[in-house]
């Protein structure tokens, strides 16, 4: 995971994620991991089963991050499978493809409705890429 990090910021009604990594692929992997852990209520999972491919494409890098996170939510809710580890296979500003490993759950145990565009930021800083995303919960 290298220099990847994430933290949760206080928000009156929603959940705000800050994430950082050396590359956009690393950023997507770390943000996906943070969301997966949120869905699992922070319980470190033991991943099982073969990796599965996740792929999204979007108009730009910011939208791609939102669409990526919404794809994880969609998979978690419809397939009862929460991805938490990501090996990014392809990361361009408009396309992400990853092999994901995760855990099967009886019920998605958290309450995230969507990743939103509100306050969305992806920016380059001296130590790499930083992003902020607010989730509707």
């Amino acid at each position: 995971m290298g220099a990847s990090w994430h933290r949760w910021i206080d928000h009156t009604s929603e959940v705000q994620l800050q994430v950082g990594a050396e590359s956009f692929g690393g950023l997507a992997a770390e943000a996906g991991r943070a969301l997966g852990l949120l869905l699992l209520r922070g319980v470190p999972p033991e991943v099982a089963g073969p990796p599965r491919e996740l792929e999204v494409s979007s108009a730009d890098r910011e939208a791609l991050l939102v669409d990526w996170l919404n794809e994880i939510l969609f998979v978690a809710e419809t397939e009862r499978w929460v991805p938490v580890e990501f090996e990014i296979r392809d990361a361009s500003p408009i396309r992400l493809r990853a092999a994901a490993r995760g855990v099967e759950v009886e019920e998605p145990p958290s309450n995230v409705k969507a990743a939103t565009f509100h306050g969305l930021r992806v920016e380059e800083r001296d130590d790499g890429l930083h992003a902020e995303v607010i989730f509707d919960v």
Binding site: R7, A114, H118
Partner: protein, 485 residues
Amino acid sequence: MSSISEAPSAPALPSVRLNANLVEIPASARSDMRVPARVWADEELWRQISRDRTLQQLVNVATLPGIAGSAQAMPDAHEGYGFPVGGVAAFRAGDGVISPGGVGYDINCGVRLLASEVEAAELGRSRLEGIVHDLARSIPSGMGRGSHLRFTAADLDRVLAQGCSYLAERGLALPEDLAVIEAGGALAAADPAGVSQRAKERGGGQLGSLGSGNHFVEVQRVEKIFDLQAAEALGLRTGQVVILIHTGSRGLGHQVCTDYVRAMDAVMLRHGIQLPDRELACAPFESPEGRKYFGAMCAAANFAFSNRQAITYAAREVFRRALGDGGRLHLVYDVAHNMAKLERHGAEDLVVHRKGATRAFGPSHPETPEAYRRIGQPVLIPGSMGTASWVLVGTDAGLGLSFGSTCHGAGRAMSRRAAKKVQGGDEVRKALEERGIVVRCASAGELAEEAPHAYKDVDRVVEVVHQAGLARKVARLVPLGVIKG
């Protein structure tokens, strides 16, 4: 690595208090505002609302094309995403926009009140516990939890198109229910074809389930009547047991919003729309994109009306099992608080967005149900878990003041993390049980996040809308049993 930190505070905006319950941010406060922003609040609520980014979000709404009058925030308003929660904005149908983010992800999240024929005093603790337990068992809760009901893909399309009318056909609604649901529980503009397969896949199996977050079913007692004539018309009396249901369109609505925020984000440039916040993504109401979203949103709204109807069916079965013929539940009203509606206001057709705000039409409005024409449309205000809820009625004056809108609840005052620091889930449960409230909630964490101290004082919020003339107090309800999603 992961950690948690405080959010930065928001910069101040110029404002002027117009009266004891209304503050205005003038249109000159920011160069891109098209209209002023107005906040219904007394001094204390204004202080609370000013603490986070609610006002900045409201000012952003005031910049949207075709906005009429003013962008408004109700006294329960708080920071959300895009629009603030508790936000009301009306856009001219001819040259204005429609915004999925202005409705929110939980399309037609709303509240429904059922009145029983039994008094709390005659129910007794043991039967109350049995009823709450049976309700928790009969109504699936939790984020992705599905329903006990089975609907085919064709059935789901009929739910989306016909809402509660279809559920009546299936025997899940009484014929008299339909007259006391907003829009009869079926929005005619619904277009099931506009709802993606992904949305149907995500939420189609969730009809009749509660969901999570602040959603709940509460067994309550009518504690006090403030307007006897209105209470009689609504079939409410002191001491009576009532049921309040708070939920929405579940994963289906979440996905409809996700799909259309993305779709509108892609066409704004073509429509020449520039926004201060990308989550406000919108399109002209009369454009193909605007009309397509409106049809899909109405279909998701029909799903939400039907969801609350299916839960009503389950609640009726529970009460019948517990109380036999004495367990009848009559529907008082069902009202949405996340919706965009095409409404006539004066000489204009407006697309009124209410996000965390309740429609509150007065006695003379044609959409007020026939049975309530003497008193006004019922307005149902759920408090935070374990505190009071309110029944109000809309006023004719409210139409001119707030586009016929009022608050939708207590409104959060504290983040989930901060709420958990004040009191853990087990402590919250114990405090509620010590007050005699029966609690059924699988997650201690969610119980802590939704604790009463995380919200504003609902009595103060309701007092503001009452004093401001947006709605009139009818009855105060207190909880006996809580089933948390």
